[in-house]
């Protein structure tokens, strides 16, 4: 553009700065603005005007280091957060580990592995600890002083138990038909024995558990 052209009016210059700042991937310096706007423009004044325009709006023009950029008004930052809550069933590995801890506490990791017959991933225990259903107990007074795991009050709370002694015993499990692992006979419907079904296939095993189960 020839320097002889009169510069665009200030409201046009303000529009230009607005568009440039909006589209820029990083704060735009005054030098950038001078280089990009038509000759004769006064970006400093245009920026000042733009800042006034956006005062009190949902986004504001901020000076960041050498440059200028649009930012969300601080009081509205809550709009830029979304929280999603997924409800998931515990993986089979996690629920089994939890059951062993509940029935055998205090129990070491090696003992859990012995009962389950498979290695217990760090992730599974971490998950239970993070959920605050399991915590570390006293160390075992045996070689290596291994850590033990116990269930928490949060666990009792969740499962509606007053103490871990309230967990049903083996004979009660058997009476409830839960210990009968005989596959139900063809065509014979046994409401209680159906339990095995979808429980065994956990649809949403978190990745860490994928290779752990037999």
């Amino acid at each position: 553009m020839s320097p002889d052209f009169p510069p665009p009016p200030m409201d046009q210059q303000e529009r230009m700065v607005e568009a440039i700042l909006f589209a820029a991937t990083a704060p735009v310096t005054m030098r950038d603005l001078i280089a990009r706007m038509p000759q004769g423009c006064d970006p400093a004044e245009a920026v000042a005007a733009l800042r006034r325009t956006y005062q009190g709006r949902g986004v504001v023009v901020e000076r960041l280091g050498d440059g200028y950029a649009f930012r969300t008004a601080p009081d509205l930052s809550f709009l830029l957060q979304t929280e999603t809550v997924d409800t998931r069933r515990l993986s089979r590995a996690a629920i089994e580990t939890l059951a062993i801890i509940a029935y055998h506490q205090p129990v070491t990791r090696a003992e859990i592995e012995e009962i389950r017959g498979v290695a217990v991933s760090r992730g599974t225990l971490d998950q239970l600890i993070e959920m605050e259903w399991v915590r570390m107990g006293r160390r075992r007074m045996s070689p290596g002083r291994p850590a033990t795991f116990v269930v928490t009050d949060g666990f009792l709370d969740h499962f509606g138990l007053e103490s871990s002694r309230d967990l049903p015993g083996l004979s009660e499990l058997r009476a409830a038909g839960l210990l009968d692992s005989r596959p139900p006979a063809e065509g014979l419907s046994m409401p209680l024995a159906r339990d095995g079904g979808d429980d065994d296939i956990d649809p949403v095993d978190p990745p860490e558990d994928l290779f752990e189960d037999e």
Binding site: L90, R92, A99, L170
Partner: protein, 271 residues
């Protein structure tokens, strides 16, 4: 009557002499252009434009001749045309002969005029699509004339996973682990169960002696009447067994009203 190449007007003789080279060059230029076409329909459209008339009023016959001349030139120049150009040539030759010959009243397929109309429609439609494609590309496009926010704010997406498990899940899990060790082929306690097989056995043997109506309770095994659960099991099994025998035609069942005692007798033999 098969046509000889010489009969076909669009087959111009190959020129001899110094003009031949120039002619050949011009022809090659046209043919080499084939790469620039998006197929035979596109080529036809370009040829149609040279007629400088509305596409709907185009002379399809003229167009067909133009196209066939083009293909013939390519053949003469030993330039290989893609298969679709040749298929189109065959179709146009067919269309052309149909347009020139009087309609065959026996033929119930589309008339030559219908075929020609459809070709004109296709050319116009393709031309229209070309036009709107251009208009579309000429719009204020994102990233060219209009821009999105260059540095969008990150929307913090916090994902909270809420795990659930019920006490029954826990118990089942533990039971599953436990039954892994002490697998019992049959854990159900059947000490107090009188099975239908047992009842059938018993009833089969006894019914032969029941010429008169006899109450169900008589058929219960000894020692099972006293204890309620055992009596219930034996009664149920015996009743189920009686239904099976009734089905087989071996006994008759009688009950005066709902909840009244049930009695059996052997089915009287047919006289």
């Amino acid at each position: 009557m098969p046509k000889q190449p010489a009969d076909v007007p669009y087959l111009t003789p190959v020129p001899d002499g110094p003009d031949a080279v120039a002619q050949r060059r011009a022809d090659e230029a046209l043919i080499v252009d084939v790469d620039g076409y998006e197929g035979p329909l596109d080529l036809l459209l370009t040829m149609a434009r040279s007629q400088k008339v509305d596409l709907m009023t185009i002379s399809v016959l003229e167009l067909a001749e133009q196209y066939l001349a083009f293909v013939e030139k390519a053949r003469r120049l030993r330039i290989e045309l893609a298969a679709d150009y040749l298929v189109m040539a065959a179709w146009l030759a067919f269309l052309k002969s149909r347009l020139l010959l009087p309609p065959d009243p026996q033929d119930d397929g589309p008339s030559a005029e219908e075929m020609a109309d459809h070709l004109a429609f296709q050319l116009e439609r393709l031309s229209a699509m070309r036009q709107v494609a251009e208009q579309l590309m000429g719009r204020d496009r994102l990233g060219i004339s209009r821009f999105a926010r260059g540095a969008p704010d990150k929307v913090a997406r916090t994902r909270r996973t809420h795990y659930t498990a019920s006490l029954i899940d826990l118990m089942r899990a533990y039971a599953r682990l436990k039954t892994r060790d002490e697998f019992r082929p049959y854990a159900f306690d059947r000490k107090d169960i009188f099975t239908m097989e047992q009842a059938l056995d018993r009833l089969r043997k006894m019914i032969g002696f029941a010429g008169e109506w006899t109450d169900l309770s008589v058929f219960l095994p000894q020692g099972w009447e006293a204890d309620t659960p055992r009596r219930r099991s034996a009664t149920a099994a015996t009743f189920a067994a009686s239904l099976e025998l009734a089905r087989q035609g071996r006994l008759e069942i009688r009950q005066a009203e709902t909840f009244a005692p049930i009695s059996y007798r052997q089915r009287p033999h047919e006289p």
